[in-house]
Amino acid sequence: MSLSRLDFKTFPSLSLKNARFFIDTKSQGLRSGIADLDRCFGNTIQAGKMIEWGLPEGRQGRTIPLLFLTGDIPPTIWIYADNGSDIYAPAWLSHGVNLQHLFFIKSNYPVKELRPLFLDDLFKIIVIDSPKKLLKGELAFIHTRARANRQIIFLIRSYFLSPNNGNPLASIRLNCWRNNKGRYCINVIKGNELGKKEIDW
């Protein structure tokens, strides 16, 4: 699929085989192709929705959201914080990410510094990775724009999310990490199937 301004409705369904995602034209949802994972998410990863991830640094949890960004994705931007590290592109490619469709931008205060990016509907998936500060008003702004522009927002926190502090704008909230046995774990705090489980693929 060539890069162009695409609407979710125009995406063809892709194969579920080999852990490839697809955006279902009927439900307009984004899937990983991994049964366990997709069951947890149901149809929550849709245009206009916000997913909040708890992914502390060093715990390898970002592998899970990346499963939704492999293959033929629409134009996507990953906003990452300036904490001394930079993008190591080959690793993203080895996770199956198409670097022709995934762009990056560095910002500690995404809404304050990158407002035009949220006003534009160019990027259909926006990943906000570990923002240093995100006020409630800014979160509401992001959510409103995502609904207006039919975008999916992945909000990544650099700490484990707690059920004590909620986010009413997020459709699903979950923590992800890789345990000592080398298996990936998720703990859904808000969403369809609450609780902790190990993911196999």
Partner: protein
């Protein structure tokens, strides 16, 4: 059309390893009819002599790469086509990574019969020719350089002394019977530029450095390294002035006035809607009568006329400049009895750097400039203060050189006969890494898992410390995983984090 033009193009890229976008172009143009046309490739131009011009192409790289992608032709063919359409068939151009090698090579080409077309100094054939050029072509542009440095009143520079130093160097060359600069570059001296500086002058040493450093060492910085760049300005610059009826400091009040001024700029007859803007100078007179100049810079050539009537991109850039200025003023004047937000009394907007897309060049493009997503990304980039990054993979064994930043709008070119996706299959490397690896004390290295061994390109004079790197995963007791390596000296470094 492309085929007929191709015959005129002396293409010396045959053996080029990789098509790099040139940083500069040195142009011999004997029949320049309309002086504005010299801005056809870049808004940043220098007049070297009556017939020789220098173009700084760095600011318009993404724009031309995008046009190249649309036309599906070679980069240098595209650049050559544009130059011929704007400047005439007799144009002779050398593309290089620094202006000096371009001037040196151009002087040589101008003396050759029937030479015209485009040459890239990155190509192997051009390099071979470059190595065979005699001293006379090296000394010829030096006299112009002396004039430029004198006109700039460079501190410590004397034109007469510079000439006598050249004469000394010439006498040495005659005694040594050296044909060209390349012969001298082969001398087994540790630091030849340092020797030239010691014996002759720092300026001759710099010229020596320019001659070989950016070209042979494939410098990535593309810095001018003291080269005296004198920007060529047209006599008529699009300019509007606003005298405010009352002091103004709030953005909400400034914004509609700026929109009006951008509209007035667009209505000026001294420029057209085909022109693209790279930089607008906003000269503000403050309440204390101080004058400050801020630049509204656009990473990619920007069409101001097209955004009429709301001028969103220009307004975003103005807003970023406004907030920066206000912050700086507040910090500077915090201990003075001045208003918190320094009001503005007047301002001037000047379009100083612009790209001329002449009608003949427009005909080269079969479709509108502004139809694809890449254009949208370039437009969005102009509205943002930070750079949108894109990456491409290169086949290399070293971990740092396995990828590079890709210019926006450029498709990943794959001159290789294998899939780059397979190059790093099953790599267990982290998503984020440290450009400057962090020293890791050996006593903190516990519970590690070996990953791989890499070797650097030692034949390219890379540091022997990192000849071999053994990579491991270091897992801390709290579950945090680091990407670490041990170098050839046995020292440990953190190179990334598994996020």
């Amino acid at each position: 059309m492309a085929h007929s033009r191709q015959q005129n193009l002396i293409d010396l890229r045959t053996f080029s390893k990789q098509e790099r976008f040139p940083a500069y172009a040195a142009i011999y143009c004997p029949e320049l009819q309309i002086v504005e046309n010299i801005f056809c490739l870049s808004p940043n131009v220098m007049q070297w002599s009556e017939t020789i011009w220098l173009l700084d192409l760095r600011n318009s790289e993404n724009f031309w790469l995008l046009q190249q992608q649309k036309l599906q032709i070679g980069l240098f063919e595209l650049l050559q086509n544009i130059l011929e359409a704007a400047l005439g068939k007799e144009v002779l151009v050398v593309f290089s990574q620094h202006p000096w090698p371009g001037l040196f090579f151009l002087d040589y080409l101008c003396q050759q019969p029937n030479s015209r077309g485009g040459y890239s100094l990155d190509s192997a054939m051009s390099q071979n020719l470059y190595e065979d050029i005699s001293w006379s072509h090296w000394f010829a542009p030096l006299s112009v350089l002396g004039e430029k440095l004198e006109s700039l009143k460079v501190k410590g520079f004397s034109a007469s002394r510079f000439r006598s130093q050249q004469a000394q160097l010439q006498r040495f060359i005659e005694r040594m019977e050296l044909w060209g600069p390349y012969d001298l570059s082969l001398a087994k001296v540790g630091n030849l530029a340092g020797e030239i500086e010691r014996r002759y002058s720092s300026w001759l040493a710099r010229v020596w450095h320019w001659t070989f450093e950016p070209f042979l060492k494939q410098s990535k910085t593309q810095s001018l390294h003291y080269f005296p760049w004198i920007a060529f300005q047209l006599t008529e610059v699009p300019r509007v002035k606003r005298l405010l009826e009352y002091p103004v400091s709030q953005w909400d009040v400034l914004e509609p006035l700026l929109i009006e001024d951008f509209q007035r700029l667009c209505q000026l007859s001294c420029w057209s809607e085909q022109e693209r803007v790279n930089r607008i100078y906003w000269t503000i007179t403050l309440f204390n009568c101080e004058e400050i100049v801020v630049q509204l810079s656009f990473r990619n050539p920007y069409n101001l006329h097209k955004e009429h009537p709301d001028f969103k991109t220009a307004l975003y850039q103005a807003y970023y400049s406004y907030t920066d200025v206000m912050q700086q003023l507040q910090q500077r004047d915090s201990d003075l009895d001045l208003p918190m937000s320094m009001p503005f009394l007047s301002w001037t907007l000047e379009v100083r750097e612009r790209l001329f897309i002449v009608p003949a060049v427009l005909e080269l493009f079969p479709e509108s400039f502004d139809t694809q997503l890449n254009n949208d990304i370039l437009e969005l980039q102009n509205k943002l203060p930070a750079l949108i990054e894109a990456y491409e993979i290169r086949p290399d064994f070293t971990s740092e050189q396995l990828f590079k930043t890709q210019a926006l709008g450029k498709k990943q070119d794959s001159p290789y006969e294998f899939s780059l996706g397979q190059w790093q299959v099953n790599l267990q490397r982290p998503l984020f890494y440290y450009k400057q690896p962090q020293i890791l004390p050996a006593d903190k290295v516990h519970e590690i898992t070996f990953l791989e061994r890499t070797a650097n390109n030692w034949w390219e004079n890379e540091a022997l410390d990192n000849l071999v790197k053994d990579y491991f995963i270091l897992k801390e007791s709290d579950g945090v995983a680091w990407w670490i390596y041990k170098n050839s000296r046995g020292e440990w470094f953190k190179h990334g984090i598994y996020s």
